[in-house]
Every structure is written in structure tokens, then in C-alpha cells.
Symmetry: C2
Subunit: 350 residues, 2 copies
DNA sequence: GCGTTTCGACGAAGCGCTTCGACGGACGAG
DNA sequence: CTCGTCCGTCGAAGCGCTTCGTCGAAACGC
């Protein structure tokens, strides 16, 4: 493998001149630069990543701490990871995967100290997350996907749950729905400090109250069976329900199945609006679900960009952002039963 | 950040002795080793990854070239990636993500030359894949997930499509099914040289013929709509069909929907056995699908282990392996219509 | 015309580690 | 008691690059 020294010899210049030509840190005359570029091309030269990293104290590696979930990763996570990796690459960085859960803060600290990563992206932060503290103390640039309890000055990008739940409620209310239930993630997720469970619930409750409506929210285990039971519970609590907002993909399938089994047609009798969904999930139901799908790819891109602005002072800094979910029309939402047909159109959710 | 020099000073030994104590490359007395370990603990020492990499010419990084698919990644890919990352970490390696499609062999070559990765894991190899050639020529250790056209001596792990399709057919035949159709991936995937499309089709055809049965295989686009159309096409071709084997998750939902719409009960009238499925997909149908699910996690683990055995001569080498999919019972497969009820049990798939 | 900038290039000192050759002392063999 | 071995340790030479200080020569001002 050709080294920078080889290039220098071939171009009849000193090693350092090659380095400057490559980095642009100091001026190099056009003639010299040309000779160097030729030499590099002829030798197929590629700078050695380790040497460069050692000398510059810049590994050009970003680490992504992702949830090593037992349940397997959902499509949103995959989309996020993929988009993050791609964005990193476009900017000359590598993305390494660090599978660490909230409890593994010490491991994170050790890895960070090895200087392998210039910055860290932290997915699925819990409300109280020791990993964040570790990163903060270590002084490594980092960006959270999600937010810790205190909505502090810590750099983050996140889904805008308030906006998303409000959009969902608004969409349904415009169609005449007044009795709407919310199928949330499980109690177990809440116990783990999984933030979306709280933020979405609060958002839904607020959105309903704001419109003078009674919110019916339920935390439901991530299983079709629990989804079926949720329908039973919620319909008992409020028989006049005409719509469900769901943020629990697996349970949603149970909800659909149970409603159909009870002879309730979707969307004629009951509407279902599934929020924060993974790509393609809507299509897997019959009828296809109307969804507000999670902006996984966008989060990945923005997260990396934000992190890079922290790592590399020369890039424009980007502010903390909240991204709402995007409406993807399906066939599971219709005007509330009993409404005049001229209300038939579905207004945009935004 | 403490350096090895700091540790050496504190433990009153030379730099090199610390290095030997850490690596075990040369003997170090117990007393000395103890002093060194104490010093390391007191300083919170962690060896610098870049320096170590430069000096040893070992980055301790594995690269995973994964399909930067437009369609978004499926659960199997996510499971694979996650398991690969975890296995790498358990062995003291990092996993970096390189999103490159088949056409980006030059980019792969450049990155490899930068010496960032000790070895490369290549997902979703196409039948003819320039990336493999590049890796081969560069002399980097690599392992393919999947296989190229010539079933050569190239290191790989893969799903055992023959076995999986044969298991599927066997399972159905034991239940009395004689007219079975296969819903494959799309023609487009075949045109891209996507190997599973071919291997599974060949496997299915062979499995049917071996039993004296007529195979009905169809390549179907990855959409529910195409799945519905496939049902129409196949039922027209062979009205006596009692079972579908599907290897196309999105289309499968269309298949289910179309059958139900035609008043055909699943599994009473028609059985559906979905193969090479992502985790959790079965539960998303109503009734839940019986599946042979893809061993994503196992492939990830074995792929990394194989690669490490190539990278690091001191590890036991592992042979090329083919892993079959695993039966996950659901409620979409039953004895063929018209069969006696005493045949009611579902035999194990192998 | 001479001193002073400015520009472009050079040499050398690291970055923090691995690894090779060497060496002193303890120990067994003769 | 002496010589050869082996064990444990040390010093130094890189690994391939970045970056600082420096310096010659061309360009400039008065």
C-alpha cells in the first residue's frame, strides 16, 4: 500500500507538502498540487485512516448507540440507522454500531475513552439515562435521539409527539369524531422510562381536552392479544367510541382483528389512525391503515448533521429540532358514523 | 486522557512492559503485572484505539456492507445487523456500516485501502457481484452473506433455501396438500441478480417434482396489490390449489386479503405458509401466519465469527454454513380441505 | 537599492502504541 | 565454581500521518 512518503518522492516534494496539498491547511502552488495529484492517482494512494487519526486526534468515526432490544428492531430503527450511516458517509465519516442499553453506561465510558469515536449518537434515550451523563462528563460531542427528562440544553433531535398527537386528534375531530381512544405502548415501556409513552399520552390528553373532549388513553402490551383486550376495555369504558388512535404496531393488529370480529366495519363504523408507525406497516393491514409515520430517515440525517456540527466546528451548527410524523393516507379513517356524506373528504392532517 | 507512558511511570516499569502485560505477548511477572493493573485502574487507563491500530496494523474494526435499499430495510436485515454488531463487540471488535450497493465497488476499494477495516462482511451479495472481486483482489478478509453464482471456495454463510423450501413443501404435503403455489419475490429482484429469488424458486420446484407434484411458481412485485393479482393468476392456472407458499412479505398481505375477499377461509379452505419471514410478521396477519422465519440473528453471529476466524488466525476457523429457516407455528396452515379430521395435527417441519 | 513582507516549500517533532533486539540476573548442569 | 539458559525487563525504532517552526526567494514599498 502506497504511503504519503511514496507520493512525495514521486512528485518530487516533501512529505509535508503532500499533506498540505491534501488537507488544504496551507497554500500549495498549482503546479505542485498538480504533480502531487498525478502521483496519487498513479499510485492509487489512499491515506491511512489509523495514522491520520492518531496524528490528528480525529478518527472520523461516529458511534451510534442503539437499543439492543430483545424484541428485535422495528423498521423505524432500521430506517434511522441506515439514513444515519449514509449521511455520515457523505460527510467522510464512518458510523460504528454500539449496542448498549441504558444500564451499560460504564461500557460506553470505556469505549469513548479509547478514542475510537469523535462523537456519539444516542438512540432511544430514556427519561433518566446514565449514558448521557457519561458522555457529558467525558466531554465527547454527542446528540440524543429523543430527550431526557429535563428538556435541557442538551443537543437532540426528536419526534414531535405533541404535534403528532394533536395532528391525529385534529384529523379525526374534523371528520366529526368526538369519542376517541388512544392505544399507547405498554406499562412496561413506561416503567423503563421510555419517553414516547409519556409524551404521546400527554399530547393526546391535552389535544382532546383542548377541544373539550374526554380522552380515553390506555397502555397496552405489545401483542395482538393485548390489542384485542384493549378494544374490549375501551368499548366498555365508552361505548360511543368511533375512533382509535394507536401507537403500538403489534397491538394495532389485534385492535383491527377484534373490531372486525365484533362486526364493526373499518372505517365505516370505527376509524383507526395509527401514529409513529414504521414504514410499510400501514399496508400490512386490511384495510390498509391510515398512518402518521415516524420520520426515521429524517431523524437519522438530522441527528448526524447536528452531531457533525458539534464535532467539527467548521460546519454550521444546527438547532435542536422536533419533527412531526407525516400523514400517509390509507383506508382506515372515515367521517364519524352518522355524519352527512358531504363531510366525506379527509382534510390534511398537518 | 492517561497514556501507556503514564501507566508505566506510575507502576515504575518501562512502557514496553506495560504493553506486554496488556497483550500477553511476552511473559511478565505476577508482581509487576499487579502493579501495572493497579496503575491502570487508578488512572482509568484505556488504550488509544488509533495508536494501537497504527502500530499493530489492526484496526479491530469490521465493516458491514449492507444494502442501502430504497425500500427501507426489513426486520431480518435489522436483526442481522444487530446480532453482527453484538457479536463483534463481544470479541473486541467494532462494526462499521458501509452503505454500498453492487455498483459501488470502487468506493468499497477505496475504503478498504484506507485500512479502516480488518475485514468485511458483505450482505445481500448478488449472483455476480463486483464488490466481492474487489475485496478478493485487495486481499482483505471477507465473508459473504449469501453466495455468488459459482458456489466457489469463497467464505460465506447463507440461508439454506433448498432445505427451507423443501421443509415448506414437506410440511404441506404431510397435511395432504397436493396443489401448492409459490409466491416469489419480483421479477425486478431477479433482474438485479438477487439470489434468493432463484434459489427459493429452484428449491420449490425441485421439492414439488420430487414428490410427483406440479409446481406453480410466480414472481410477484412487492406490493399488496400484486399479491392480490397473484392469487387471481394462480387460481386461474390451477383452481384446485389448497395452499400457498409465500416468500414476499408485502405481497403476502395482498394474498391474504384477496383470499378472504373471495370467501376462502384461511386455513380451512386455503393454507398459507410464509417462508423467510422477518421476526414478528406472522403476528401481523389475521389469522396469524404460520411461518418459516429467516434466521437473521444467527446469520449475523455466524457471519462475524467466520470473518473473525479469517482476520485473526488464532481463532478456530469455521466452515461455510447454510442455515434453514425455523418453523414458527401460526394459524394459517391446516390439513387440506376434504381430509379426515384425524390428520389434524401439524407435524414438525423437518 | 535595500529592508521588509509574503508565499510556497521543507524538516523534524511528535501522536500513543507494538515489537524487536538486547541485557542483567537467577538458576540448573557439569 | 563456572558456563550456558531462560526469564523478565528495558530501550529504541518505527507505524503513516499532522503540524509547527523555519527559511529561501520573489514581490513590494519608499
Amino acid at each position: 500500500m502506497a504511503t504519503m512518503q511514496d507520493v512525495a518522492r514521486r512528485a518530487q516534494v516533501s512529505l509535508s507538502t503532500v499533506s498540505y496539498a491534501l488537507s488544504g491547511t496551507r497554500p500549495v502552488s498549482d503546479a505542485t498540487r498538480r504533480r502531487i495529484e498525478e502521483a496519487m492517482a498513479e499510485l492509487g494512494y489512499q491515506p491511512n485512516a489509523m495514522a491520520r487519526g492518531l496524528a490528528s486526534r480525529r478518527s472520523h468515526v461516529l458511534a451510534l448507540i442503539y437499543p439492543a432490544m430483545e424484541k428485535g428492531l422495528g423498521g423505524t430503527v432500521a430506517e434511522f440507522v441506515s439514513s444515519a450511516a449514509e449521511t455520515a458517509r457523505e460527510n467522510g465519516y464512518h458510523l460504528v454500531l454500539w449496542p448498549f442499553r441504558t444500564t451499560q453506561a460504564p461500557e460506553v465510558r470505556d469505549l469513548v475513552r479509547q478514542g475510537m469515536a469523535d462523537g456519539v449518537l444516542l438512540m432511544e434515550v430514556a427519561l433518566d439515562d446514565a449514558r448521557v451523563d457519561v458522555l457529558h462528563e467525558a466531554g465527547v460531542p454527542y446528540t440524543m435521539i429523543g430527550r431526557t427528562r429535563d428538556v435541557s440544553d442538551r443537543p437532540s433531535v426528536d419526534i414531535d409527539f405533541e404535534r403528532t398527537t394533536d395532528d391525529a386528534v385534529a384529523h379525526l375531530v374534523e371528520l366529526g369524531h368526538e369519542h376517541v381512544a388512544f392505544v399507547n405502548h405498554s406499562q412496561a415501556s413506561a416503567d423503563d422510562g421510555y419517553a414516547p409513552t409519556f409524551r404521546a399520552e400527554e399530547g393526546f390528553v391535552a389535544a382532546m381536552r383542548r377541544r373539550g373532549l374526554e380522552p380515553h388513553a390506555l397502555r397496552v402490551d405489545e401483542s395482538p392479544r393485548a390489542g384485542r383486550e384493549a378494544v374490549a376495555t375501551l368499548l366498555e369504558r365508552e361505548p360511543r367510541l368511533t375512533a382509535f388512535v394507536t401507537m403500538n404496531e403489534i397491538a394495532t393488529f389485534g385492535v383491527v382483528a377484534e373490531l372486525q370480529q365484533r362486526g364493526l366495519a373499518i372505517p365505516a363504523d370505527i376509524s383507526i389512525l395509527s401514529i409513529v408507525t414504521s414504514p410499510g406497516v400501514g399496508e400490512m393491514s386490511n384495510p390498509p391503515l391510515t398512518t402518521l409515520h415516524a420520520p426515521g430517515a429524517e431523524l437519522g440525517r438530522l441527528g448526524v448533521q447536528k452531531l457533525l456540527s458539534l464535532v467539527d466546528g467548521s460546519r454550521p451548527s444546527t438547532p435542536n429540532v422536533l419533527i412531526p410524523c407525516v400523514l400517509e393516507p390509507g383506508s382506515s379513517v372515515a367521517p364519524a358514523a352518522g355524519r352527512a356524506p358531504d363531510d366525506d373528504r379527509e382534510p390534511a392532517a398537518r
